[in-house]
Symmetry: C2
Subunit: 191 residues, 2 copies
Amino acid sequence: MPLIIDNLSKHITLTPQEQELFLSKTEIRQYKAKTILLNAGEVCKTSYFVNSGVLRSFNINDNIVEHVLSFACTGWWISDMYSLLSQKPENLFIQVLEDAEVVLLSKENQEMLYQEIPKLERFFRILTENSLVAHQERLMDNLSLTAEERFEKFCNKHHDLIQKVPQKQIASYLGVTPEFFSKMKSKMLRK
Amino acid sequence: MPLIIDNLSKHITLTPQEQELFLSKTEIRQYKAKTILLNAGEVCKTSYFVNSGVLRSFNINDNIVEHVLSFACTGWWISDMYSLLSQKPENLFIQVLEDAEVVLLSKENQEMLYQEIPKLERFFRILTENSLVAHQERLMDNLSLTAEERFEKFCNKHHDLIQKVPQKQIASYLGVTPEFFSKMKSKMLRK
DNA sequence: ATAATTTCTTAATCTACATTAAGTGCCTTT
DNA sequence: AAAGGCACTTAATGTAGATTAAGAAATTAT
């Protein structure tokens, strides 16, 4: 069974015909590491579901500093929600970090599927709810924890990622410079 | 027409009977400033919609420092999403900042309404999507902007709140101490 | 009105993290 | 195998914002 159907079944139950219909509206693609799937300034027209590999979303501010908004590995959805919903351009990039197989669902097809399989409203509501909760927690963590504490939490939650992505990306996700992250890490190891 | 029905109609269209049913599952209450609607450690069983006044959600970390997660004034929803969804206790408070009239929707009734008016799945999906986008932006702002820049953005977006809530709460929302906020503000005025 | 609390301000000192810069090791390309 | 580019480290110096403390102003309670 395709991973994405398995993912849907975590929150809703689809008939075989509905599964068929859903899959017919998606597209599978392979990408090499470093491929840019969405460029800053473009309007986002697609949601991405990761079958294998790792993606990230990030922006670049005036100072030419990158900030990682999120990572996505096997079984995770990723997109530029702001641009996807508003259909306006945003300063977000989506990029492949490790060679990946990705399922593409266009906004157009997603809306079409909402009409034909209203249960999907429920699925994406729950998916978005969970994402919101995670973002709220990360926000509060950024306000109240030190970089070290945030890193420890990250390790517990995303153990798999630590091996896979360059540590400067993790530093950026945590909101510190790669130099400080390196220092902090060696300090933590010494304990 | 009740404000909350007006709010629903921003994303979905309800028949008069559906409106009736929806309202019958809610409850209106008046609260005095400082009332605590949800205490840290409790399981959240209700979503709150503000008819008038101002509420806030916040947590308190080990150091006895408060951090404001969100404000809600007229026309806004507020709840403890983590606890409401998981039905586990969280360390979040919900409190009235300015005398308020609030519409209460219990989780139980909300689930019941999803069954009877599936369109509501759509409404809360969109509501949650918008909230997620706002949280993502705030996260990135916290990573890449100075406190001063964040305050300017806050002023543009929530002009109404600045008059209504004590400035130490705004400092907490922005992620700085009241002392630093005070200093920053007077520095900005001098320009 | 007066007392009591809470909020806001000012100022000195401190610290987590940023910036700059130089150097090391490891891939990748030719 | 050399050369170039990245990712990572180390270290000196700089700064945004925290902490502490004390007084002034504004609310709230009596």
